[in-house]
């Protein structure tokens, strides 16, 4: 069987590796689909719903990071409808917790923030929930701020799949979902955490950060999983 297949993206014919996802195919062809949870080298989960695309013949939107490209598929990755849905998804993310860019360690280096800028999210149409969420400062080197977490699960996956420690998980359901450390331990009380800092580096927002960094100072290194695989400790 030929290892290459051909699909259409926004009307243009594109060659793809058999078994690759729509997201990967588009990226290889130089076409950018927005996304916050997907990361090369980690298993895709389709959590953020920002990479949704239209596939001809399918009457619902599909997450491009978890949908394999198939021979003859015709995919629309940019349309007014998709832009509207993506903006809506971002606004929901922003309204869900307390994202206060001005005082955030990741201000200026935040994927959520830059995507909002790119998609033209100038205001949030939904009422902010302003949940009262804690900050876990118990780890000697890192800090978890639930207020800034978008539940993308990159940290969960990099810890389980790359570091092999599986410190993180998601607890609760729906709007009550929360990142949790080893069956609800504090991060400082974790028995498996190797303090490698991979979770901090892959976090797209300021939810996971190195301690002691002042506002705007936390620059993440999310270049590749190969690089991350050897990350040990902080970036100072």
């Amino acid at each position: 069987m030929d290892s290459k297949i051909t699909i259409r993206i926004d009307g243009e014919l594109v060659k793809a590796d058999r078994g690759s996802t729509i997201f990967e195919t588009a990226k290889a062809a130089g076409k950018r689909i927005p996304g916050l949870c997907n990361m090369k080298g980690l298993k895709p989960v389709g959590a953020c719903r920002l990479c949704m695309v239209e596939v001809a013949g399918v009457n619902r939107l599909l997450p491009s990071c978890t949908t394999p490209a198939q021979e003859g598929m015709s995919v629309t990755i940019h349309s007014a409808r998709l832009d509207a849905y993506r903006k809506q998804a971002l606004e929901l993310l922003l309204s869900e917790r307390n994202h206060v860019c001005a005082v955030c360690v990741s201000n200026g280096h935040c994927e959520l923030q830059s995507l909002a800028t790119a998609l033209g999210v100038t205001n949030v149409r939904y009422g902010y929930r302003y949940p009262k969420l804690g900050v876990d400062l118990s780890h000697p080197r890192y800090v978890l701020d639930h207020n800034r977490c978008i539940l993308c699960t990159r940290c969960v996956r990099v810890c389980a799949e790359v570091e092999g420690a599986h410190v993180w998980d998601i607890a609760g359901r729906g709007i009550h979902s929360m990142l949790t450390c080893e069956m609800n331990r504090t991060w400082g009380g974790s028995r498996n955490c190797t303090s490698c800092g991979k979770c901090v580096q892959v976090c797209p927002t300021g939810a996971l950060a190195e301690k002691g960094f002042a506002v705007e100072e936390m620059v993440k290194r999310t270049t590749s999983v190969e690089r991350l695989a050897v990350v040990r400790g902080g970036s100072r």
Binding site: L137, P140, E217
Partner: protein, 477 residues
């Protein structure tokens, strides 16, 4: 029947303030109240946050003097980390602070108060603003704008942003000063000095017109508080907190450890205001009334410590005495301090170590409590934090400069109202004087900027049973 006059919006100040004037049956002022009508809640909602986020969070208290909050906050954080920051970092912080003092003093004098001083307290309120100054005294208005720009640009050149920069961090600053920034700021120093010289000359030339105001604008004995060096020089970034009482012959106490502030400063609560009223504890409430800010600082310090400011200070004292009592002279003191700020910037920029690259100390939590005291443009600013062993904030107390002056402002409003307000006939100029005395303190009531010319002035007269008797409204000023 007694009446009550309410000035619901004091104009040309930062934030929301209100004044109530109660009249007796004869139409004379019986009592007054100066209210601050907003609550912010910073001390409470920072609980649980990492201590090192405090500088950027508390800087949001104010858009005019975020640098003061940044500095008081990073100093409190330094104390929690128990580090001694590099000498160059200390100088850079002071440099940034001086630039801010200059821009804030320029705003207060030229933009907010010069309309009262140059156009007159009784002038047409529609023109009594910076636009009116531009029309009548265009050179002065341009000077004011240029001086503020000098300070703001210096901040931007050092810290990257004019408002809420992230340059100052616990342990120092996050980047050294560049040669280009140093040279650019130095190239403008002389222009800034000449603007201040002109402003001082102008102020001195108009003093005689304000005899009645000088006599009644908070012209009562109080104590004064401000930062000084061990030798008694004026200090803005760091120093010993000195309380001075002219009536008691001079210095009452020197507070060397910032954490000891609570031994001497108590915080009273006034039933009619959200602003607390700090007082000097050993004298009790409200007898322990003291003032902070430019007037107080110049009273507390023996000298400024820079040549031209010291010359001006000598003339100021020759005219007004060693301890200047009338709050009207806050304006004069502010201009002398602006000169000090520019001269101090020049000294620091020419310091051989100002370009050193070691500008940050790093440490974790080494103390569970820390306080930082700096001189904001409006006076002593205290940030006091407590954290747990992980560095999460458990408690915060902030004493903002304007707060220290609360009791003094209340008394000053009372004094001015009793002198100028007669209830039988309300004239706009009378009530403007009540507001002007508040303006003299340059209070930062919300610690946030307000657009000029937006707040309508509404004066309402109430009878003893609360019925509206009269209403005067202006849509300008």
């Amino acid at each position: 029947m007694g009446k009550k006059i309410v000035i619901p919006h004091i104009t040309r100040i930062e934030g929301h303030g209100k004044v109530s004037i109660h009249l007796n049956d004869a139409g004379e002022v019986a009592s007054t109240q100066f209210h601050v009508t907003q609550v912010r809640g910073f001390e409470k909602f920072v609980e649980g946050r990492p201590y090192y986020e405090m500088p950027s969070i508390t800087a949001r208290i104010c858009g005019i003097c975020p640098i003061s909050h940044l500095l008081a906050s990073v100093k409190a954080c330094d104390a929690i980390m128990a580090v001694r920051i590099p000498k160059t970092a200390e100088m850079l912080r002071e440099l940034l602070h001086c630039a801010q003092i200059v821009q804030s003093h320029a705003l207060s004098f030229f933009h907010l108060s010069s309309p009262d001083l140059l156009l007159g307290m009784d002038s047409d309120p529609r023109k009594r603003n910076i636009a009116g100054i531009l029309e009548k005294h265009p050179d002065l208005a341009r000077d004011g704008i240029a001086l503020r720009k000098f300070g703001q640009l210096a901040i931007e050149r050092m810290a990257g942003e004019r408002i809420h920069p992230s340059w100052t961090v616990p342990g120092g600053v996050n980047a050294p000063l560049t040669v280009d920034a140093r040279d650019a700021i130095l190239s403008e120093v002389n222009i800034a000095k000449s603007i201040i010289r002109r402003a001082i000359k102008l102020f001195v030339s108009i003093i005689d017109r304000f005899e009645a105001e000088i006599d009644s604008f908070g012209n009562e004995p109080t104590m004064y508080a401000g930062l000084v060096s061990a030798a008694g020089d004026l200090r803005l970034y760091d120093g010993i907190l000195r309380f001075r009482d002219p009536a008691a012959g001079g210095t009452v106490v020197d507070v060397e450890d910032p954490l000891d502030y609570s031994t001497y400063i108590g915080e009273g609560v006034l039933p009619h205001s959200y602003l607390k009223a700090p007082y000097f504890k050993p004298r009790g409430f409200p007898e322990g009334n003291y003032r902070v800010g430019p007037l107080a600082r110049l009273n507390v310090a023996e000298r400024c410590g820079t040549p031209e400011a010291d010359e001006e200070l000598a003339e100021y004292r020759q005219r007004l005495g060693r301890d200047v009592q009338s709050s009207f002279f806050y304006h004069y003191a502010r201009l002398i301090e602006a000169m000090y700020g520019v001269e101090r910037m020049e000294q620091l920029l020419n310091h051989p170590r100002i370009l050193d690259t070691h500008v940050r100390a790093r440490a974790d939590v080494n103390a569970l409590e820390g306080a930082g005291i700096a001189e904001a443009p409006r006076g002593v600013l205290i940030h006091h934090y407590k954290v747990n062993e992980s560095g999460a904030m458990t408690w915060a107390n902030l004493i903002i400069a304007t707060g220290h002056n609360n009791l003094a402002m209340n008394r000053a409003v009372d004094q001015v109202a009793k002198r100028f307000v007669r209830g039988q006939r309300i004239e706009e100029g009378m009530l403007n004087r009540v507001q002007a005395v508040v303006r003299a303190f340059d209070p930062c009531l919300s610690c946030s900027t307000h657009a000029l010319g937006q707040a309508p002035l509404v004066i309402e007269l109430f009878g003893q049973r609360g019925e509206a008797l009269d209403r005067v409204s202006t849509d300008c000023d």
